[in-house]
Subunit: 333 residues, 2 copies
């Protein structure tokens, strides 16, 4: 099992305490990709086919608390609700935790609390697994650096590797078979005026997981072969935009990248569309506002909700046009 | 001007009457592409980047009547309304007619009557220019064969070359610079049970012409380079489906081809989406019905309306699920 080998390599690098603590706790921000992660080169290690680039959302994300408990089975709570142990998500958590403890050793009580809707395209599994990796680092007192924490988080969920640090994060796709060069790294630039507006059209769970959608796209879309070049182009443009604080370039590139990811899904078979009628209306509204001169763009993940991109000076206008929008300014000073 | 040269070549092949008649008249069916035409290799001659395949819609289409009139300017009527001579469409008509008469010779009264909504993605310009080419053939008594009529129709509007004949029509993309090998040809197979259901969600004219949308896609979409291979694959599958009367294969291939064309548009910049909220709902309805076991698929052109594909045995069910659908059975015997 490749994951076990990666964990062994990384834990050799950390501090090796004689035992663990009774409790571990951590928070991880969720992240919104401006250049999307869509397609894997290794499904076990969650190694991506391309690089990607995200912005972490400050205080929006997941808190994870780990406790050692004296019972035969783990207990998981998500947003106050106990999780059945036989659900796919519980199995994913258990398989992940088993990477870090000897077989039949002890059990965990895991409590994850998110302040974003679960499974509505807001990267809840990204911040969930990132907070879990950070909580494990706290629990076992490994004192790992960000790079290795990012790799551990990736073993739980690919995009979780971008949720270890705040700000802009580039996920290097890497070339190594074990993925030791595939991790999230913070860009040094910040952009305090940059705002994200969360337009929550539904909090219902999405009908198809992004994991399944990604696999189906890669397997069936004729257009997928053009995606790596699109990512390469967009990544360079986004880094230039961030460096030069060129908002038009950032917005155009992020929106085009997101729409291209959704285009790939539409061309998969069976076709995948996360759009609700409300999604279409919200997109058209953005396009109309832009034609009227407002510098507003959007990005969309594997769900129907939109994330608006704009600058702080336009926040009041955006609030007026999108009642109920939640405005975040992740890098406000 | 390349068009003039093509016309000269073709008219040399036809009968050369001493003069023309006082009137010409013809009907041409509209056609629905099962494998779409999206992208040109020559914008003046409307030569396509790929082949395509369509089904002509029997009695749905355009009738054109041409009359010689004694005045300095042409007069055009579309569905009973006179057209202003300075509109882009009138200019297209005039430029087209000028290919066939000496400069400053005589004027036409052109009356085109369609029984489908104009500019709502129902290929009204295809059947319009096809009916005009056929009416010219009648007016001048050229007695051209279908191949050369198809080429003349293409000079007016690309997909018009598929509206000269009924049934399934393959538009050969050709390799020659003058396009003399790029024309619509009928397949010998018919499929009497095959039905098309027109789901008209709006009769409003589309905000962006398919001509402009096509050009923008080719110029800006990173995904476009994958389109020719998609077409090649789908064309082979559609011909196999028609030969074997394999409806599942026909439906899956046509729907996937249409969605891939829309995917290309979504990945263009600025993004192009013809979807209305109602389009999203209608698509989801088709997908749900299919999951419930009904053999129903859709195709969509450069407009928000859907065309359902199903077999005659399921027509009553389709009518029940899509109130207002107009059911056509173009090859019914």
């Amino acid at each position: 099992m490749k994951k076990k080998a990666v964990v062994a390599t990384i834990l050799d690098l950390g501090r090796q305490p004689a035992s663990h603590q009774e409790m571990g706790h951590a928070f991880a921000p969720t992240n919104i990709a401006l250049c999307k992660y869509w397609g894997k080169r290794d499904t076990e290690l969650n190694l991506p086919a391309t690089p990607s680039l995200s912005l972490s959302l400050g205080q929006k994300g997941a808190s994870c608390t780990l406790r050692r408990i004296d019972q035969a089975y783990d207990t998981y709570f998500l947003n106050g609700q106990p999780l059945e142990l036989l659900t796919p998500f519980s199995q994913r958590l258990k398989n992940y935790l088993d990477l870090f403890r000897p077989a039949d050793s002890f059990s965990f009580q895991v409590t994850i609390q998110t302040n974003i809707p679960v499974a509505a395209g807001l990267a809840s599994s990204a911040c969930g697994f990132a907070s879990l990796a950070l909580a494990l680092n706290d629990f076992f007192a490994w004192e790992l650096d960000q790079r290795h924490l990012s790799i551990l988080a990736r073993l739980g969920s690919g995009s979780a590797c971008r949720s270890i640090t705040p700000g802009f994060v580039e996920w290097h796709e890497g070339v190594l078979a074990d993925g030791m060069d595939s991790y999230g790294e913070s860009l040094k630039e910040a952009w305090p005026e940059l705002c994200i507006g969360l337009v929550i059209l539904t909090e219902k769970e999405k009908p198809l997981s992004s994991r399944a959608a990604m696999e189906r796209t890669v397997a069936t879309s004729h257009l997928y072969s053009s995606w790596p070049l699109k990512v390469k182009t967009d990544l360079a443009l986004l880094k230039q935009a961030i460096k030069e604080q060129d908002f038009k370039l950032l917005g155009e590139t992020a929106e085009s990248n997101a729409l291209t990811m959704h285009a790939l899904m539409l061309s998969a078979w069976p076709p995948i569309s996360y759009a609700l009628p409300e999604t279409v209306l919200a997109m058209q509204r953005v396009w109309e506002l832009r034609q009227d001169g407002l510098a507003i763009y959007f990005t969309q993940d594997a769900g129907p909700n939109l994330k608006l991109l704009f600058l702080a000076k336009d926040a009041e206008q955006v609030r007026a046009y999108f009642p109920g929008v939640e405005v975040l300014q992740p890098q406000a000073t």
